[in-house]
Symmetry: C4
Subunit: 234 residues, 4 copies
């Protein structure tokens, strides 16, 4: 692949750049923090952000593009069989094994990772899980169940419990892979994981859904922190 370029604002590379800019201004991706990954369902190409780039300045040419190669040898550092078909003169995000794990095991076509202050603070107030219920915004979150007739995702109801597992941070992001896989197994309906003193990973079937989940979770985390400050039992 020679270059990434499209005039379509809905092209994965353009979406990653416009959302990175939006998330920077939300203060979720300061100091080059955070990362994102989108799988294009027509080409199966996966677009991943590089590390070290200021998120508000991200451009399509800065992204990595990967494609699946089942024949590729896997190893500890490259646990998923993907070839890089476009690489900028930058390091690929250290989160990329985590992103590929979401694409491979969760049928996710988009993964968003932020360092939002709400996501860091909540992991200092809760231990193994963040649970919340009886909040209207929960209805924007997926239950993990599908409607048996339409096959469409069913969202949580107002009274349902939203559970986001919390895992401990590791010095290198790719070392979180085993903990993430444990989450996949123990919380099959989860669409997000909090990493203590680090941030939030959210995945979804489309980038629109992943963004809506990410926004709703951050809103709920923010509410929970304010409730804690106001001595209101969650």
């Amino acid at each position: 692949m020679d270059s990434i370029h499209s005039f379509d604002s809905r092209h994965p590379a353009n979406l990653i750049c416009s959302l990175s800019n939006q998330f920077f201004h939300k203060e979720w991706c300061l100091g080059t923090g955070g990362a994102m990954s989108i799988r294009d369902t027509t080409t199966n190409y996966i677009y991943i952000t590089p590390s070290g780039v200021q998120k508000e300045l991200m451009q399509p040419k800065d992204l990595y593009v990967l494609t699946k190669n089942e024949n590729k040898n896997k190893n500890r550092n490259q646990p998923y069989p993907y070839d890089i078909i476009y690489s900028p003169p930058l390091k690929i995000s250290d989160c990329s094994p985590l992103f590929l794990a979401c694409h491979e095991h969760k049928d996710a076509n988009a993964v968003i990772h932020t360092h939002s202050q709400n996501s860091v603070l909540i992991t200092l107030l809760f231990d193994k899980e963040f649970n919340i219920s009886n909040m209207e915004q929960i209805k924007a979150m997926p239950s993990g169940r599908k409607d048996p007739e339409t096959g469409k995702q069913i969202n949580l109801s107002f009274n349902d419990n939203l559970c986001i597992p919390i895992i401990d941070n590791r010095p290198h992001e790719h070392d979180l892979l085993n903990s993430l896989k444990d989450v996949f197994e123990k919380y099959p309906n989860a669409c997000a994981v909090l990493v203590r003193r680090h941030g939030l990973f959210v995945w979804g079937p489309t980038i629109d859904k992943a963004k809506i989940y990410n926004e709703s979770i951050d809103y709920l985390l923010g509410l929970a922190i304010k409730m804690h400050q106001l001595n209101i039992h969650i």
Copy 2:
């Protein structure tokens, strides 16, 4: 109706889209939360937002347009006699019966619904009503009384009490209809209602007025929460 399109920035469809974008950036309508309805007083068409659309990306073509049909059969799910004359390939907001109730019973030509964090938190600090007085911003709120000479709405004075009733949330938004009608009866001068653990509904004679009321209420809710944190008696 074939399509919604106007170059007039004051057209109801354009106003809903520009305000949805503004409210998203105020963090009042994250994760597709919130909704809006405007009745065009010349055509009597009612424009209503769909559900599931990211508010900062809302476009006129995404809106529903309804018109009154007195002959229409009413039932539990469609308690008001309106025909849909334009529908996008999206679900109509679950709030639409509430919006129509405001248009029908309160002479409102605009209704704004948000999930602002202030509106959720205040319902955890207060039980049946939120009351505030002796705040300059109260003067931007309507008293519900009209000047006997000019027929114009009289606003509250600095020393007047602003009362916003609080109702409990229900699993489905349209199930709030009976509670809303109770509010209409018990608080005939109210222009807003808080829904516990959910958000705020505000109505007004014009979209400009509804926006000004909504902004002023959210400001007063925010002040009240900060006063609570500072141990200042409201």
Copy 3:
């Protein structure tokens, strides 16, 4: 005067509109709150905002223009001898007598009035005065003294005390005039006054200075409130 129109972004009418928009987005002028006045030192025209207009949408044609007429009869409601030479189909800001008082008695060529939450909250934490010292930002504030050689305003030093008097609110803004005049007499060096449960008035020799003072005061008020929350003695 037939109309207000200028392509110069530094024209008082354009500055009032661009700053009103900026202050709206700072959440200082929500729900049509706040007001502003600028005296053009070449023409001596005074430009004043109307009431009831959304500040982010303010346009030059919405402003009032006044000019001095020493022969004009003064009365209780019009205590300063000014003629209106341009009026939009809107009410003039109820603050206008206060603005004219600043122009007349304080040599101010610009007055800014906001409803910032910091300014309201601080009047609930302090009684007659807000005092702060030993903050770098104080150096952006005027001392009220002039350099005997250059005649230029001298700003406060880091160790100096900044004192902002607090007056009680009245039902009508023009009823604050007497309290404001008392402030002029008792605090001859003040460039701002806080009105309890209402907001902040700031004046300066130019609109740039008034804006810098207003910004610096709001920053210091915000710091003082956070210090209070953190149990740090101011």
Copy 4:
């Protein structure tokens, strides 16, 4: 030098202006507060902001340009041998001796100074140093050590301690020079210093790095303050 003008958005003068505007909207440089300095590594020209200019309105023509002149006599007020080769009709930032010290002694090509509220508040919670560890964002900060093979800066690891020294403020910014030099000596790996009741200075090998460090530090200061409010041990 007759004028500063470049169409290249990466020219130091343009970067100072666009970042000043960005930092104003982050509320780091209100009321003309804050300052910045960049050394162009090709020409060795140093671009420095003037004092008294609103940061969101800064233009290239407002900046000072300095160049080194080893033959220049040094004195107490001009401790570094630089000639001014372009000067606007404005005072140079009172921080300029501090900026030159960073350029001279720390190999810094960029220095950022802000009055962020986080940076002021943290100096009221901590005495001589601000220390934090076990936060993912720390990994965006430099360790001060270089990779012996590549010669590239090594960043801190998740478990490393980030230490930012705190010095007391002085009435005049240039009087901070001795304290700053003490910091250089005592904390050779530091890339930032907090000034009590004043703000933050951050330096780096490039303006991009200095900006990333500044953003990351402010984020960590903000987290530490919120942790304090939530009674979470840092």
